[in-house]
Structure formats: structure tokens, C-alpha cells
């Protein structure tokens, strides 16, 4: 099936089902406690697995003695890296994944897995862990990104040489990658400027903070097949990677995704799943491995902490003449391209003649960095938008007007390369300017901030099956994980295309043996790509329905059109024929050619970029440095909101995460390189009483590459808040805030330094 015939050049504008606030299919299960998340899956005879983790930030593993643990009654398997041989065939990226799941020669961070046990109950497993004797040789460690890039820092991997430089370095270092983006001549641009502002910023490491810890129930059979029940954002990716690491063919491992209790990027990587499989294989019994909250913080994938320099020059009339940024991020203990992603997003909101972003990616002794909802963008936006704000103030221009003047638009060459189609940055800025929030008066010690943000949104490989039952009801099998209600949106799209009611369509997330490969739910691609595949699959089903109607009427398919959920014979000479409803055709399917279905296996191209502008009012207690968010507004372009409530939910949820990141969340490391706040008590995410209502405004500038104009929306909402609040607190205190989170001690210190 060629995609071209499906390529939507005409975006549908009038809908019967889409845009309504329908009830999601998993709603009742989730409010009654019936829904099954990762830890709710149990297999008969299952063992409990626990993982032994390094208490050192950086250490050679000289010896692991598991003999006493293996002898303990009730222990059925003990594994170390010896039980995970290298099947990667030279694929360094895959080997890094394996090494992160379990340390091989070195422990690379506090919390790095070094061994694991499977036993008949948790108490026995705990006893067994205590009996494992590991001999470490502690090595010097480095946890700060700037320190890691310095000459003389302890080098973590001796096989890593900086990529992306014109000359390959002669010595390994922690600087794993260098990249540049941009166009024009920034030096000339700065010379042309009337005002040039230069600032440096730091942001601390945060975690996605999903409420559900990782959990996997794995079972490997003696015949070499295996199954896994696991919470994940990408069960196909988990299957492919786990199978590869265990030396299994992909089709031998069947992965069923549980309901997921939050992911935000953190469940797009495998962590302990290969360990559960290896234990199951060794013990010849199912194994259940559920992480504790402590392990989630220490040994999964937080974001990067960063160090960013930004320099922007502008003319008195408000034109930005040059923009430069150097971004230093880290991937934790393995190479990543997080700074590069940050460099790509940094100036994406603006139409710039001269722009340059430089990215330096580093390695530190921290857990491997994973994506966190628009990875790398919030930190870059904090730095860039803060300087934008400062430049606007320096030339005496309203910061919103300054942004509007320089906003990217259709036809702009973006700072990261592509030319934009129709985009929403201008409209969201204009909508912010007109929003009642901007006119609300500010109270004492209050400051207002406005900032904008951007995220790419990806498409990726997606498969959907639409199957029509004999009673005319429809089941949809999607392969993208539902994190926030996409099953409802996909069912709506199918109902819309088939012309039937939403209540007659039911979508499920199929397991990996039941559907073709689907990329993870990340990159805001879940609804965008699944809905696109669902629409195409439905259109294929419609073709089959028309064929069956033609057969039943003994006319040619060219004389059959599909409208309002039924086949209609077109042409004056068919005037007397009553339409054949989907239900009627389905009832006859057995005699007209078999079950009616439609499939789509696509690479969903053309995900539209999504821009947003946020407004925040903050009150600061000037005697303690404590900030309270009094009012918050999110304005973002969704292309087309299939289900407005769920789009609002993404806006509010992303904003809330950004607020927590801006004000209180950070990983605190001691001088010993150990994480000090690996729990929800001292890793402080916003609680209900910390936040006000979060107002939202959905703009719809249709994405021309989706049949309904949909853009991915899930990630952009986390991009502006750090900057929005940074500017608001700056305005409330009169001191430019440059270090995130703006915890009370930091803000108070900035106030006291100002007073000196």
C-alpha cells in the first residue's frame, strides 16, 4: 500500500466525532482500581527479584562473591554481568545499554546494579543481597558537567574520544560530543547590535517523577521463548532490546504492556528488564522485579544538569542581530547527545539572520540520562528566554512585543536547519498579549513572567489494525502505548472515518506478537502517529466495505461511495437502492469474502512542530526567598485537538512539572558522589496545595501533514515554565535569576547579595 495515495494534502476541517469530550475506554477500570499496572501482574510460581547496587560513584569491581547467597535456602538464582554475555556484535550503543543495566568492570554511579537475586519471597531476597560480597576499588569521581569537561578530571571511559571535532583528539576524555548549529555571521551581527547581553546559567538534575515505579514480570521457558508483562512507553523497543541482549530472536519474546503509571520519557529505556529475564532463565521460573522508589531515583534515567552561556544582540528598534549559545549537558555515565538537542531547540522560536549554537556533551558519574518530556529544551529555553527578557528591558521594549517582532513564521529558516511551514509561535504570542492574564493587576512582591518554547514532535513507525466484528462493532489494535488517553482519541478517529458512533469503537494496546513494530510513545508522537495510522487503516477498511457492498449489490466498486457509516450506490440508475450500513455489511462478511479489516503500517512523517507561550504570576516572600505561583496560563498550538480535555491535561501536566523543576526539584549530590535525596520527601515535586488552577488556551493552526491537522502536544508544555518563572521571580525580586531550581535558599542568597 503506497502512502502517497493517503498523503493528506487536504486537511479535514469538519468533524462529527473529533473534538468532542468523549469518555475514555480505560476510565472505569482506573477509578475502580481494576486497571492493571506493572506491579499488578503476577504469574504462578513467580520469584521475587532484588538488585544489589553500588554505593560508590565510581569504582572498579574487583570481585563479586555470590557463593553464600546462592546457598541460602529459598534463593533460586543469582546473577552478575557474567550471566549477561555480550551479544551486541560490536554495537557500542547496545553494549552501553547492557552495561547500564548491570555493571561490568566498573560501577559508574551510586546505584549502578552489580548483581541480582531471585528468591521465593522478598525477605529471602533481602537476606541474599546481604550475603553477596563485592570488593570495590574506589576511584575518583566527577558529577558536575563543567568539572567533567575540565582538563585533569577523572576520565570515566577510556574508549570515548570527542566526536564532532574537526580533529579527533589524541586522548580520551569525558567530552563525548561536540556539535554546532546555525547560520549567518554572529560576529558581524554582534557588531551591528546596539545592545548585547551575555549571561551564564545553571540548571540542576531532575527526574520525571512518575508515581509508578518500574515493574516487570518475566518468564523464560526452557524452549527459549519468553514473555514479559511490563510498564513501558515502548513495548516493541523493550522487546527488541531485551531480546538482543539476551541472545533471543525478537519473535521469541512476547511483551505485553501493562497500563502505565506515568513515563514522560523515563520508561523509554530498559533498566532492570534484562535482569528479570536473565534471572528467570537461570531459575527456570517466572521472576517479578519491582523497583523501589529509592532505586527509581538512583538507577533509572533523570535529565541532565546543565551549564549554558547565552549572548544576544539587538538594535534599538527591537531587531535581534545575533544570537549565540554554548550548551554543556551530560548523558550521565554514558555518551548521549543531550546538549546537541538543546542546541537545536535553543533559538527555534525566532527568525534570526545570524545564529549559532554550540553543544558540548559530557560524561559524569551519574545515572544514565534519559529523555524527560521535550528533553534538553526546558534548560535551553530558560537561558535563552531570560536573556531575551533582559535584552528587551535594556532597549526599553515590552518583552512580548520584542518576541512578536522576532518570532519565527512560515518560511523562516529555523536555527536548527529546516524551513518552517505554518507554525504557531506568532499566534501564541499574540494570544498571550490579548489574554486577560496580562491585564490582571499584580499584588505586593509579585512579578510576572512571559516566555515561549518549542518542541519538534516526531512521527516514526506505527501500525494499526482495524477489525470489524460480525455485529458491526469495531476493535482497533494500536501499538503505541496510551499514556494519557490516546485510546479514546484513536477510537474517535476510527469512528470519524467509518462514520459510526464512538461507542461502537474500542481500542486496545496490542502486545508485540500481535502487531507490527511501533516506535515508543515519546516525541509527542503517540496521538499524532497513531491517529494517522488509524485514519489510514480505517480508510483501507472503508475500501473493503465498499468492495463488499459492490459484491452484495453486484455492481462495480466505482459506483459505491461511503458516507455517514454506510455504502451508497451512486448514479441515478441506483436511485432506489437503500444504503447498506456497516452493520449490515459486517453481518454478511462471512459470505462476501471473510472478516472485514483495515491495516496500516506507516512511518508517520510530517509531525508538526508545536509552539507555546506561558504567563506566570509569582509572589516572593522577600525575607525567606520562597515563591508562590499565584496564576499560570498556558497557550499552545495543537494543530487540531482531537479531545480538548486531554490536550488541556497535557498543557497543565507539563506546566506543573516545569513549575516543580523551576522552584524545588533537584538531585542533591554529596562530595562523595552519592545521591542524598532519592525519595519523594526530599525530591520535592509540586503537591496539590502548591499550585493554582492552570488556565489553558488551545490554538489550532492545522498541521498540513496530518489528515486532521494534528500536532503532537505532549512535550512543549514543559519547555517554557523554567523561563517563565525565572523571569517572574526576577521581576518580583529585582535580581536576575540564573540558577534553577530557584529554591528559597538560592533566591534569598541572591536577594542578600543584591543588598550588599
Amino acid at each position: 500500500m503506497s502512502i502517497d495515495s493517503m498523503t493528506p494534502d487536504l486537511v479535514k476541517k469538519h468533524f462529527k466525532v473529533i473534538g468532542n469530550r468523549v469518555r475514555r475506554p480505560d476510565g472505569v477500570d482506573k477509578v475502580t482500581g481494576r486497571a492493571r499496572y506493572g506491579a499488578d501482574y503476577n504469574l504462578p510460581g513467580q520469584l521475587v527479584a532484588l538488585v544489589l547496587r553500588s554505593p560508590h560513584a565510581h569504582a572498579l569491581i574487583e570481585k563479586i562473591d555470590t557463593s553464600k547467597a546462592e546457598k541460602l535456602a529459598g534463593v533460586k538464582a543469582v546473577i552478575t554481568s557474567k550471566d549477561l554475555p555480550d551479544h551486541t556484535q560490536g554495537d557500542r550503543g547496545l553494549l552501553d545499554i547492557l552495561e547500564n543495566c548491570m555493571a561490568r568492570k566498573k560501577a559508574l554511579y551510586d546505584g549502578h546494579a552489580v548483581a541480582a537475586v531471585a528468591a521465593i519471597d522478598a525477605a529471602t531476597a533481602r537476606k541474599a543481597l546481604k550475603l553477596i560480597n563485592v570488593t570495590y576499588k574506589i576511584l575518583p569521581h566527577v558529577t558536575d558537567v563543567d568539572e567533567a569537561l575540565k582538563h585533569g578530571a577523572p576520565v570515566i571511559h577510556d574508549h570515548v574520544y570527542t566526536e564532532g571535532l574537526s580533529e579527533k583528539p589524541t586522548r580520551p576524555s569525558n567530552h563525548c560530543k561536540y556539535a554546532e548549529y546555525g547560520h549567518g555571521d554572529v560576529e558581524a551581527g554582534f557588531r551591528d547590535a546596539d545592545v548585547v547581553i551575555s549571561r551564564s546559567f545553571k540548571t540542576e538534575q531532575t527526574h520525571q517523577g512518575y508515581i509508578e515505579p518500574h515493574s516487570v514480570t518475566a518468564s523464560v521457558s526452557p524452549d527459549g521463548t519468553a514473555e514479559m508483562f511490563v510498564c513501558t512507553q515502548g513495548h516493541f523497543v523493550y522487546r527488541n532490546q531485551c531480546a538482543a541482549l539476551l541472545g533471543l530472536d525478537a519473535n521469541k519474546l512476547r511483551v505485553t504492556a501493562s497500563e502505565i503509571g506515568g513515563g514522560f520519557g523515563g520508561k523509554t529505556h530498559i533498566w532492570a528488564e534484562p535482569l528479570a529475564l536473565a534471572l528467570s532463565r537461570k531459575a527456570n521460573r517466572p521472576v517479578k522485579l519491582t523497583m523501589t522508589r529509592d532505586e527509581v531515583f538512583r538507577a533509572t534515567g533523570p535529565t541532565s544538569s546543565t551549564s549554558v552561556d547565552v549572548k544576544i544582540g539587538a538594535k534599538k528598534d527591537g531587531t535581534i542581530t545575533a544570537a549565540f549559545a554554548e550548551l554543556r549537558y551530560h548523558g550521565g555515565c554514558f555518551p548521549g547527545n543531550w546538549a546537541e538537542l538543546g542546541a537545536m531547540t535553543s533559538f527555534a522560536c525566532y527568525d534570526l539572520k545570524n545564529v549559532k549554537s554550540v553543544a558540548k556533551d559530557a560524561i559524569v558519574n551519574r545515572p544514565k540520562t534519559a529523555a524527560y518530556r521535550a528533553p534538553s529544551a526546558p534548560m535551553a529555553a530558560f537561558a535563552v528566554e531570560s536573556v531575551v527578557d533582559e535584552v528587551a528591558k535594556a532597549i526599553g521594549m515590552d518583552p512580548l512585543d520584542f518576541r512578536i517582532k522576532n518570532a519565527a513564521k512560515e518560511g523562516t529558516k529555523s536555527s536548527y536547519g529546516p524551513v518552517y511551514g505554518p507554525i504557531g509561535i506568532g499566534p501564541t504570542l499574540q494570544a498571550a498579549k490579548n489574554h486577560p492574564h496580562m491585564k490582571a493587576p499584580l499584588g505586593k512582591n509579585m512579578g510576572r513572567g512571559v516566555a515561549c518554547g518549542f518542541w519538534f514532535n516526531f512521527g516514526g513507525q506505527t501500525c494499526v489494525d482495524v477489525n470489524i466484528a460480525a455485529d458491526g462493532t469495531v476493535t482497533v489494535a494500536q501499538g503505541t502505548i496510551d499514556v494519557g488517553g490516546s485510546r479514546a482519541s484513536i477510537a474517535m478517529a476510527v469512528a470519524e472515518e467509518l462514520g459510526i458512533s464512538y461507542e461502537n469503537v474500542r481500542s486496545i494496546v496490542a502486545d508485540t506478537s500481535s502487531l507490527g513494530h511501533n516506535d515508543m510513545t515519546d516525541g509527542s508522537r503517540g496521538t499524532f502517529s497513531s491517529s494517522m495510522a488509524a485514519i489510514f487503516a480505517s480508510r483501507n477498511a472503508v475500501k473493503v466495505l465498499r468492495e463488499r457492498a459492490a459484491k452484495m449489490w453486484e455492481i462495480s466498486i466505482g459506483e459505491v461511495e461511503w458516507k455517514d457509516g454506510a455504502a451508497h450506490a451512486v448514479g441515478a440508475h441506483h436511485g432506489n437502492r437503500s444504503p447498506l450500513s456497516l452493520k449490515e455489511i459486517a453481518a454478511q462478511a462471512g459470505t462476501t469474502g471473510g472478516p472485514v479489516a483495515g491495516h496500516a503500517e506507516i512511518t508517520a512523517d510530517g509531525a508538526g512542530v508545536s509552539f507555546g507561550t506561558h504567563i506566570a504570576d509569582v509572589e516572593v516572600d522577600l525575607e525567606t526567598g520562597r515563591s508562590t505561583v499565584k496564576r499560570y496560563t498556558v497557550i499552545q498550538d495543537a494543530g487540531k485537538a482531537l479531545h480538548p480535555s486531554y490536550v488541556e491535561g497535557q498543557y497543565q501536566g507539563g506546566a506543573a512539572q516545569g513549575i516543580g523543576w523551576a522552584l524545588n526539584e533537584e538531585y542533591v549530590y554529596g562530595k562523595d558522589g552519592r545521591l542524598q535525596n532519592a525519595g519523594f520527601l526530599d525530591y520535592r515535586i509540586p503537591v496539590c496545595s502548591d499550585l493554582p488552577m492552570i488556565d489553558t488556551q488551545i490554538l489550532e493552526i492545522a498541521n498540513p501533514h496530518h489528515p486532521y491537522g494534528v500536532r503532537g502536544v505532549g512535550e512543549t508544555p514543559i519547555v517554557p515554565p523554567l523561563a517563565t518563572l525565572g523571569i517572574a521571580v526576577t521581576n518580583a525580586t529585582g535580581v536576575r535569576q540564573t540558577h534553577i531550581p530557584m529554591s528559597p535558599p538560592r533566591v534569598l542568597l541572591s536577594l542578600m547579595s543584591k543588598m550588599k
Binding site: 469530550r21 469518555r23 475514555r24 480505560d26 476510565g27 472505569v28 482506573k30 477509578v31 475502580t32 482500581g33 481494576r34 486497571a35 492493571r36 499496572y37 506491579a39 499488578d40 525477605a123 520525571q208 517523577g209 512518575y210 508515581i211 509508578e212 515505579p213 497500563e259 502505565i260 503509571g261 506515568g262 513515563g263 514522560f264 519491582t290 523501589t292 522508589r293 499514556v483 494519557g484 488517553g485 480535555s645 486531554y646 488541556e648 491535561g649 497543565q652 501536566g653 506546566a655 506543573a656 512539572q657 525519595g679 519523594f680 520527601l681 515535586i685 509540586p686 503537591v687 496539590c688 496545595s689 499550585l691 488552577m693 492552570i694
Partner: protein, 156 residues
């Protein structure tokens, strides 16, 4: 070893044996198959394991199974009356007050306990009444609105 416990769970008399150091959360999930209460942290910081014990909202991860003897426990599984959802449950669905839903059972228990003591709470009272329940998906906005609308319906 082991403690024999006789208790009432969602109005049903229940008897079980558990280890002395097993939490109520462990007992509910592993011995009774009541997996609606979730372990988000195990240390009383997230509220995902919330149940109502003798009329008081508690974290079941901070109560020993052994302490249940002679007590009354209400869990999420007992909130609906058969197929008829409690107004809070219905309003959570209708108001899109859940995204991933893992925190939802805890929130419903907390909201139920809140409205039992204060049928007409202000927004601030709702927010502080639910401050022991963490949600990472919603930003709490739609949760608060759902509690407000359910409370209104329950007041008649």
C-alpha cells in the same frame, strides 16, 4: 510465626495470616488481591496507597497488617456500589481528572475522606486536603474541579 488477623474490608469480614512485619499495603495487594492501592514510594510520601481505616484516611504502607485486627478498612475496590460508580468516581472520568490513573485510587480515597468531614470545602481546603497525594500527570487542576463538582452533586 505469623499473626492471625480478623478484620472487615469493604464491609466484608476477612480473616488472614500475615507476617508481623508485613504492611497493610502488602496484605491488601499480595494476600487479598486488592491491587487498587499502589506502592508509589513505600514511605508515606505519595499517598498512592491511601485507604480509610476506621474512618480515617491513612497510608496503608505505614500500617502493619497485624494492626488491622478488629478494625474496618475501606479500599478503592469498595467505593462503587456494584456497577454504580460513586459520584467522585464518575466526576473524575467526566472531568478528565486522570491521565495515567495510577494515583487515582489514592486521590479518590482522600477525596472521599475529605468530603465526609467537610461536604462543602473551599478550593484551598480541597488542595490542602489532597496535599498528601502526589500526581505527576495532571497538575491537579482537573482533580480539584472534579472534587468540587462531585461535592456539589453529593450535597444535593
Amino acid at each position: 510465626m505469623g499473626v492471625l488477623v480478623q478484620t472487615t474490608v469493604n464491609s466484608d469480614p476477612v480473616e488472614f495470616t500475615c507476617s508481623e512485619d508485613e504492611s497493610l499495603l502488602d496484605v491488601l495487594r499480595n494476600r487479598m488481591g486488592l491491587t487498587g492501592a499502589k506502592e508509589g514510594c513505600g514511605t508515606g510520601d505519595c499517598g498512592a496507597c491511601s485507604v480509610i481505616l476506621d474512618g480515617r484516611l491513612v497510608c496503608s504502607c505505614l500500617v502493619l497488617g497485624a494492626e488491622m485486627n478488629g478494625k474496618r478498612v475501606e479500599t478503592i475496590e469498595g467505593m462503587a456500589e456494584g456497577a454504580k460508580l460513586h459520584p467522585l468516581q464518575q466526576h473524575f472520568i467526566d472531568g478528565a481528572a486522570l491521565q495515567c490513573g495510577v494515583c487515582t485510587p489514592g486521590f479518590l480515597m482522600a477525596a472521599k475522606a475529605l468530603l465526609a468531614r467537610n461536604p462543602n470545602p473551599s478550593e484551598e481546603e480541597i488542595r490542602f486536603g489532597l496535599a498528601g497525594n502526589l500526581c505527576r500527570c495532571t497538575g491537579y487542576d482537573k482533580i480539584v474541579r472534579a472534587v468540587q463538582s462531585a461535592a456539589k452533586e453529593m450535597r444535593g
